[in-house]
């Protein structure tokens, strides 16, 4: 199975996501903000990042920009957001930052699991 990195400032959400991922037999690694994520990501070398949008500290856009700079081409990112993106926005995220997919909060577990499975293929 894969290695999933969960980035969320909300501890409960992060723990919940970790539980779900572990039920799915994935290895998990947590980060509570953008800085921590960026400092760990190369060492952890995850198969998929579940990245929360709108965390205090480093802005999502900057996080994505920095990742792009690091040229971690293999890294798959999935956003976890309270905002529903439009078609256009989704397209932009995919083209610009190679975002695989996104899930909206609160999420339906079977749907989340499906999307994660799909992203890891």
């Amino acid at each position: 199975m894969g290695k999933i990195m969960i980035v969320d400032d909300n501890r409960d959400i992060a723990e919940t996501l970790r539980t779900i991922m572990e039920i799915e037999k994935h290895e998990t690694e947590l980060a509570s903000n953008g800085e921590e994520f960026l400092s760990k990501v190369e060492n952890v070398n995850p198969d998929l990042v579940l990245l929360d949008v709108m965390m205090p500290g480093l802005k999502t856009k900057d996080i994505l920009a920095k990742l792009k700079e690091k040229r971690l081409d293999r890294l798959r990112i999935m956003l976890v957001t309270v905002v529903r993106f439009s078609e256009e926005e989704r397209k932009f995220l995919m083209d610009e930052f190679k975002i695989r997919d996104y899930v909206t909060k609160p999420f339906d577990i079977p749907e989340l699991v499906n999307r994660v499975r799909k992203a890891l293929l």
Binding site: N10, I13, M54, K59, V83, P106, D108, I109
Partner: protein
């Protein structure tokens, strides 16, 4: 005294000499003696004697009788025969020559003298008679009147040529015929014949005008006549005939008729003229027409005839009229003037009158033409009052009324200008408007004025800064219109007001509006943050519950499961509520971002139906779709999907298990229509209206069993309206509902100024 000259014709010289001596003794002159007839004629030609003594028996070719015959035919000289013979044959012969005397030789002196004197007298008398007859005949022939005379028996005795030609009878034919047969005269009015000319005429010997007569001529033509007649009486007074003088009056009658007709025509003109026409003489009305009588309150003109004119002239005008009459009597024509009359009932009446003097029955008469101008005066007064009212209106209006010439010169300024701009009207009149216009507005004002001048009747408005007398600039708004003034020139009526304060208020309002928009944005941002913050705790709650229920953390009892289900259901509901509140607030404040692109409505509807199919299946409902192929439309695909899903969600929710839901997509010439029909509980008419307003759920205990924010349809309406379409419902309680919405094919979506950077902000952790 001249001696009468006597020619003696005697062939016996002694006898002749004896006669001469006798004649000379008697006081006659004997210029010569002729011895034969031939000689006698020669002497007569030479001496023209007054009398001839002729011997009957003469030597030569002609005897005395023959000579007398010739003399009688050649000259007009009386002849007395002298003869010794008195035989019957000679006397008979002599008689034929109509001699003046006859003396038998031998005669006495006395006898001779008597015979001569008688002959001379007789000759003279005969001459007189002849002359008189000639004169009468010439007179009768030459006069233009016709003359007919009768004898005592009433038969025609004489007709002059005019009478002959008029009647068509010659004297020869008519003579001795009864007058009635020749001179056939009838009364023109009755056609009855005139029986007796003398008795049927009046004392002056003529027919009266009413008894006009006419002659029926021989050829049956009818000729109107004027007849005079008289009886001819002898010296003893016995009637010995009748003489009639008559004349053809055809021409005169024609002239008279024409005159009568003309007079009638003019009389009618005057009688029925719409103007009052009167004639007065010696201050008395002698004529007035019907219109004049009516103006004066009379029914008939007769009521006014004979009245003193000062009875009908209003007392205020008596002096004026007296003066006018005085001048008119000197021949002046009075001009048209306004005057006041007094009606028979005493009421005053305004008139306009013109009058001219003329000779009426040998005196000065005055002919007056007048008309009632009461109505006109009233209209004039009404107009004056109206003008006064408008003047008051203008002068008391709070707006400033200005009249400008086309070059911008001020020709009128209402008093309110002083209140608005500090100038008194007289300070501005004659100056040009442009002097007071702010340089920045000058071009604009000039353009507006020129535009007004070039478009008569059209209204134009402008705003400009105008110099107040105190030196400050006031903002003036004006509306102008170009009109033709009473001299036919173009001028501009300008209505202006000071809008400085209004402008300030507008400015403040604009600022307030900006503030409001900002506040609204803040609200949206707040809602955005709130929804994030609210959703964050829901997320782990929701996920944990799902995991417990999925049995990841061990077995749960049925009761626990029910309880956890309830919690999970409510976290989901809370999440939807948050989403709806966020949507409606974004839609209402206009910050919702629509991403429009060409899309296939068939696809959108099909996908929405497929999305909702599971829910329908859960309730064992039959969900069907019927669709036409719709052309591509520019829409926000996600939002339209949201509308269809919402309608379907409602239909599934409010329809009992096993119900039927039909979706139909159709298109006409200009728009597509989506209908979602169910056979559910339906909605009361009175509740249908408020379905589309936020937080309005059909409020009854019934609806409580269906969860929902009450925002869904309000959101749908906003979305559909944004696309230029409409949304509605057709439903009856218990009979199901049909919700529909339409989307026009080519509606140009307004590019609203939305906060398009919301996404941007989210990505930057700011929203």
């Amino acid at each position: 005294m001249i001696k009468p000259q006597v020619l003696v014709v005697e062939d016996e010289a002694i006898v002749a000499e004896d006669i001469r001596r006798t004649l000379e003794n008697l006081g006659y002159a004997v210029p010569s003696i002729a011895s034969s007839g031939e000689k006698a004629i020669q002497i007569i030609e030479k001496h023209n004697p007054d009398l001839i003594l002729m011997d009957v028996v003469l030597q030569g070719k002609m005897d005395g009788v023959e000579t007398a015959k010739q003399i009688s035919s050649l000259f007009n000289i009386p002849v007395i025969y002298l003869t010794a013979y008195s035989d019957k044959t000679t006397i008979e012969r002599a008689k034929i020559t109509d001699p003046f005397g006859y003396i038998i030789k031998p005669f006495r002196e006395k006898e001779l003298k008597m015979a001569i004197e008688i002959a001379l007298f007789k000759h003279e008398t005969q001459e007189h008679l002849k002359e008189s007859k000639e004169w009468l005949s010439t007179t009768l022939k030459s006069i233009s009147d016709a003359v007919v005379a009768t004898d005592p028996e009433g038969c025609v005795k004489f007709m002059n040529p005019v009478a002959q030609s008029l009647t068509g009878w010659s004297l020869k034919e008519a003579q001795k015929m009864p007058l009635k047969d020749v001179f056939h005269v009838i009364y023109e009015n009755t056609g009855e014949p005139v029986e007796d000319f003398v008795t049927e005429m009046d004392c002056k010997g003529a027919f009266s005008k009413e008894n006009q007569t006419a002659l029926i001529a021989k050829n049956k033509t009818k000729i109107p006549l004027d007849i005079c007649s008289a009886s001819i009486k002898d010296e003893r007074g016995s009637i010995i005939g009748t003489v009639m003088v008559f004349r053809d009056i055809t021409e005169r009658k024609k002239t008279e008729d024409a005159l009568k007709e003309s007079e009638e025509r003019y009389r009618r003109l005057v009688d029925f003229s719409p103007f009052g026409i009167s004639v007065y003489s010696d201050h008395r009305i002698v004529y007035i027409n019907l219109a004049g009588a009516k103006i004066l309150g009379a029914v008939k003109p007769e009521e006014l005839i004979g009245k003193n004119i000062f009875q009908i002239i209003h007392p205020e005008y008596h002096e004026l009229v007296k003066e006018r009459i005085r001048r008119q009597e000197q021949g002046e024509v009075a001009p048209l003037i306004e005057e006041k009359f007094q009606r028979l009932d005493g009421a005053p009446v305004d008139v306009e009158i013109t009058s001219i003097p003329f000779i009426y029955k040998g005196k000065t008469g005055i002919y007056g033409v007048f008309q009632d101008i009461t109505e006109r005066k009233r209209a004039e007064e009404a107009l004056r009052l109206k003008e006064e009212r408008f003047r008051l209106l203008i002068e008391n209006a709070s707006d400033v009324i200005t009249i400008l010439n086309v070059d911008g010169t001020i020709s009128y300024e209402s008093p309110s200008v002083e209140r608005v701009l500090g100038y008194r009207p007289e300070e501005l009149i004659g100056r040009t408007l442009y002097e007071y216009v702010h340089p920045d507005n000058l071009a604009d004002v000039t353009n507006t004025i020129n535009n007004l001048v070039q478009n008569p009747g059209a209204a134009r408005s402008a705003e400009f800064h105008c110099m107040h007398k105190d030196g400050s600039w006031r903002i003036i708004e004006f509306v102008g219109k170009s009109i033709l003034n009473d001299t036919g020139a173009n001028e501009l009526i300008i209505n202006s007001r000071d809008i400085t304060n209004r402008k300030l208020a507008e400015e403040r309002l604009k600022e307030a509006n900006i503030e409001l928009i900002r506040a609204n944005k803040l609200k949206t941002q707040f809602l955005s943050v709130v929804s994030h913050e609210l959703r964050t705790p829901i997320t782990p709650m929701n996920a944990q519950l799902q995991m417990i229920l999925a049995g990841f953390f061990g077995e749960t009892t049925e009761k626990q499961k029910n309880s956890l289900d309830m919690i999970l259901r409510n976290t989901k509901r809370l999440d939807r509520l948050i989403g709806d509140v966020l949507d409606i607030s974004k839609l209402e404040s206009g910050v919702m971002k629509f991403n429009t692109a060409k899309a296939c409505l068939n696809e959108i509807v099909e996908n929405a139906v497929e999305t909702m199919r599971i829910q329908a299946l859960d309730k064992n409902q039959e969900l069907t779709i019927k669709e036409d192929k719709i052309p591509e439309i520019t829409v926000d695909k996600d939002r339209i999907t949201q509308v269809v899903v919402n309608l379907l969600n409602n239909a599934i929710k409010f329809t009992d298990a096993g119900g039927k839901i039909e979706v139909e997509l159709s298109g006409n010439a200009d728009h597509a229509r989506v209908e979602v029909r169910d056979n559910g509980i339906g909605i009361k008419k009175e509740d249908q209206e408020r379905l589309f307003t936020p937080f309005q759920q059909v409020d009854s205990s019934e609806s409580r069993k269906y969860e929902g924010s009450g925002l869904g349809l309000a959101i749908c309406k906003k979305i559909v309206t944004y696309h230029g379409g409409s949304i509605g419902i057709d439903s009856k309680t218990g009979r199901g509902s049909t919700f529909y919405f339409t989307i026009p094919y080519d509606y140009r979506i307004k590019e609203e100024k939305v906060d398009s950077s919301l996404f941007e902000k989210i990505m930057q952790n700011e929203a």
